[in-house]
């Protein structure tokens, strides 16, 4: 740290203390990872706003507000050569900004101003509403998206805000007005809900000082996640598709061994690769989804209609097998070798690392700056992680899925 940067930080802190009294809270919501060899700076801003803040009849207003306030920003960002992505999650809106080192502060300043100072532009609201409606209508006709939404609905229980798609419903989005957006913006888009990760060739003191100066508010106490009421038994939903979807969601709690669960997702999905025993399987995926207070390991199989029960049973058996006995040493070593590589490559862009760090900070408060845990899961940890899972919640979607009952 240079003397100049120390003085600058002292200046930022002094201003923030004088005006707002508690800058440390803002500092706790920022993580900076300095990477001298990385050519750009990526900033992930998570705004803890989502379906839990939306009236049910306004489902999707968080997504619409996020896109409407950032839409007029595009021209400014283009002129800076900066790139902005907006993603909607159940527990937060994610703004990923990537820019050249010499302009990232300008780009970040423009984004923060758009989020917390500018009113929503009426034309932008209308434009984004039309776009979002189109996207939602497409998703509502897509069996993969419908299967995911149906699983959320069963996993969280009727009436839970996370049971709805994070981006809302086409029918509710269609009714939203610029005035609705303006009210939602003023009430919910506030700096006290922000978590930020910055990755790139930046001075950590300067970067933090810059952001603290603009997030000058104490952190909002993280709201407890709404209580969930998972449904019982497999849920079957008829859908006019050619293939059928089987999803199995296994829940885990706050203290779960998440890295071992990620490995579990790979190990189980591997058992369903195309081969002599899986010739009729079209796709198999496993993923870990973390949310405040825990999360889920979700498996998705795409299978021929009429075979959902058989494949669901194989899926349950595959997870149970890992819980029952550790994998043979050579098979485990092969899986860990591949798992480690895939984990690293999933983080090979600065924006991916910023996303991982911001999520970790939001969910656990961790500010280690390391996007991947350094310890490797062991066979025993894998088995213990599989044993610790609750569930599963099963959903079958497709043509004739009730025929198997």
């Amino acid at each position: 740290m240079t003397r100049a940067s120390l003085l600058r930080l002292a200046g930022y802190l002094g201003i923030a203390l004088a005006v707002f009294g508690s800058p440390a809270a803002a500092q706790d919501r920022i993580v900076v990872r300095t990477e001298p060899g990385t050519p750009v700076v990526s900033q992930e801003l998570l705004l803890a706003v989502g379906p839990a803040d939306e009236p049910e009849l306004q489902a999707g207003i968080a997504s619409l507000t996020a896109r409407a306030v950032t839409s007029p920003l595009r021209a400014t960002l283009d002129s800076l050569g900066a790139h902005l992505e907006v993603q909607v999650q159940h527990d937060a809106l994610a703004f990923t900004l990537t820019a050249a080192p010499e302009v990232w502060e300008d780009a970040s300043r423009a984004l923060l101003t758009a989020l917390f100072r500018d009113p929503a532009d009426t034309a932008a609201v209308a434009r984004e509403r039309a776009r979002i409606r189109g996207e939602l209508e497409a998703a509502e006709a897509n069996p993969a998206a419908v299967a995911a939404a149906q699983t959320d609905s069963v996993l969280y229980g009727a009436g839970h805000p996370w049971a709805r798609p994070a981006a809302g419903l086409s029918a509710t989005v269609a009714t939203l007005t610029p005035a609705d957006v303006d009210v939602f913006l003023r009430k919910n888009f506030t700096p006290d809900r922000v978590t930020i990760a910055v990755v790139g060739p930046v001075d950590p003191v300067e970067a933090k000082g810059f952001l603290i100066g603009r997030l000058n508010a104490a952190a909002l106490e993280a709201p407890a996640p709404p209580e969930t009421h998972p449904g019982d038994g497999p849920v079957r939903r008829e859908f006019g598709s050619i293939t059928a979807w089987v999803t199995a969601s296994y829940r885990f709690g706050r203290d779960a061994d998440v890295e071992a669960l990620r490995l579990l997702a790979l190990v189980v999905a591997d058992r369903f690769e195309f081969g002599p025993t899986s010739r009729a399987l079209y796709d198999a995926r496993g993923e870990v989804v973390r949310r405040p207070g825990g999360g889920e390991v979700r498996f998705t199989l795409v299978v021929p209609p009429g075979e959902v029960d058989a494949w669901a049973e194989r899926l349950r058996a595959a997870v149970a097998a890992v819980a029952d006995a550790p994998l043979p040493a050579s098979a485990f070593a092969d899986r860990v070798r591949r798992f480690r590589g895939e984990r690293l490559l999933a983080l090979d862009s600065p924006e991916a690392r910023a996303r991982a760090l911001a999520r970790e900070l939001l969910l656990s408060g961790s500010r280690t700056g390391e996007p991947v845990p350094t310890d490797r899961p062991t066979a025993e940890r894998l088995q213990a992680a599989a044993k610790s899972l609750q569930g599963p919640v099963m959903v079958y979607l497709g043509p004739s899925v009730n025929a198997g009952t």
Binding site: P39, E102, R337, R338, G341, E351
Partner: protein
């Protein structure tokens, strides 16, 4: 500020290792360059072989890549890595990306790509099909057709990476090791590593390369593809124009292309416009490819005709500075992963034969000014442009 430039200056040049002969090996080691990027324990290894397809066997290089790709993918998947192939006008390129701890394994995978593939009938038919599809796309899909047609007129001796139908027929029955021997020379192989690795470790990993093991195939006559006849069917009309620019300063030509694209997009708001700087060892050109609805097609044709004059009339220093800054930022953005950084640095090096070429170009962009861009426009205006035009498809109601 100029991270890429600084990083390249500090790492590429310092770690570039000259090829060293070693009598104990089958072939000398390749030139190895390392760009240290320690952000994550990952490495991208880019291996390039500077080679034209042997005369009479157009498409051979890309066919070999497709023959090898499934095996490379299977090997790299074991360590959670990725592999990509590219056939540029300059080189055959293989890139593997994976954990830095697997450097030796990944290097072994890449070295295996330097042996003639042994293909069964099924593998050969599959690879021929894939390359054939790429060849068909250059005739049947408007954007690819436009570029292929413009290129064939600008650089008549350059055959597409996908080759020719005649070349494919020969390759189907050819001795692959002989065709490979006509392309492969160990001294034309270079390796670029980007990531959390040391130069010594990369040099050790590529200490030996396989030698060519067969007599090279006899040179035969190539048949050049013609892009005349029936154009592809498209719902919009397509207009293409390209100007040869071999002697233009590359950075100024890139800036001119960006400004030309911006100017045409302003003039034709309903059209899709792409202005590109084409640059291979064969030469340089500035190409414009536009798609427009039928009603806007006359305006698009006119705009292609007076594009250079229009840009020259409105050229100012501020726009040049902004365009150059935009190109520099695009370079930084497009090189933000080890794999993409290797692609960018390696592409420049293959073309120029100079490991510092990307760095030099990046620095040169910073010095481009309005007089240089004006000089490029004057140079282009003196050249004879090539034009390609594809009218929109006419849909007739069924009787």
């Amino acid at each position: 500020m100029l991270v890429l430039a600084l990083a390249l200056a500090g790492a590429i040049r310092a770690d570039t290792l000259p090829a060293r002969a070693d009598a104990a090996r089958d072939a000398p080691p390749p030139e190895v360059a390392v760009h240290r990027q320690p952000a994550l324990p990952v490495v991208a290894l880019r291996l390039s072989l500077l080679a034209d397809d042997p005369p009479g066997y157009a498409g051979a290089g890309h066919l070999f890549q497709h023959l090898l790709l499934p095996s490379l993918q299977e090997q790299v998947r074991r360590v959670g890595g990725r592999v990509s192939i590219a056939r540029s006008a300059d080189a055959l390129v293989y890139t593997v990306t994976g954990p830095a701890a697997e450097l030796d394994y990944l290097a072994g995978v890449l070295r295996s790509a330097l042996r003639a593939p042994v293909a069964g009938t099924g593998e050969m038919l599959q690879a021929l099909y894939l390359v054939g599809e790429e060849r068909s796309a250059e005739r049947e899909i408007a954007p690819q057709f436009m570029r292929a047609a413009l290129r064939s007129r600008l650089f008549p001796d350059q055959i597409s990476a996908a080759g020719t139908d005649a070349g494919a027929r020969r390759l189907e029955v050819a001795k692959l090791d002989a065709v490979w021997a006509a392309m492969y020379r160990p001294d034309r192989v270079s390796v670029l590593a980007v990531g959390d690795v040391q130069a010594d470790a990369v040099r050790r990993a590529f200490a030996t390369l396989p030698d060519a093991e067969a007599q090279p195939a006899e040179a035969l006559e190539d048949s050049l593809p013609a892009y005349g006849g029936v154009p592809p069917e498209a719902t919009r009309g397509w207009v293409g124009a390209a100007w040869p620019a071999d002697s233009a300063a590359p950075a100024a030509l890139s800036v001119a292309a960006r400004l030309l694209g911006d100017d045409l997009r302003r003039r034709l708001p309903g059209a899709q416009v792409s202005a590109e700087h084409w640059w291979t060892h064969e030469g340089q050109a500035l190409a414009v490819v536009m798609a427009a609805p039928a009603r806007q097609l006359p305006a698009a044709r006119a705009a292609a005709g007076d594009a250079l004059d229009s840009l020259a009339a409105g050229l100012d220093s501020a726009a040049v500075v902004k365009a150059a800054a935009g190109l520099r930022r695009d370079m930084l953005f497009s090189s933000r992963t080890p794999e993409k950084m290797a692609e960018l640095l390696g592409g420049f090096a293959d073309r120029a034969g100079d490991r510092g070429a990307a760095d030099a170009f990046y620095a040169e962009l910073d010095r481009v000014d309005a007089p240089q861009v004006r000089a490029v426009l004057e140079l282009l205006a003196r050249a004879a442009p090539v034009r390609v035009d594809v009218p929109p498809q006419r849909l007739r109601p069924s009787p």
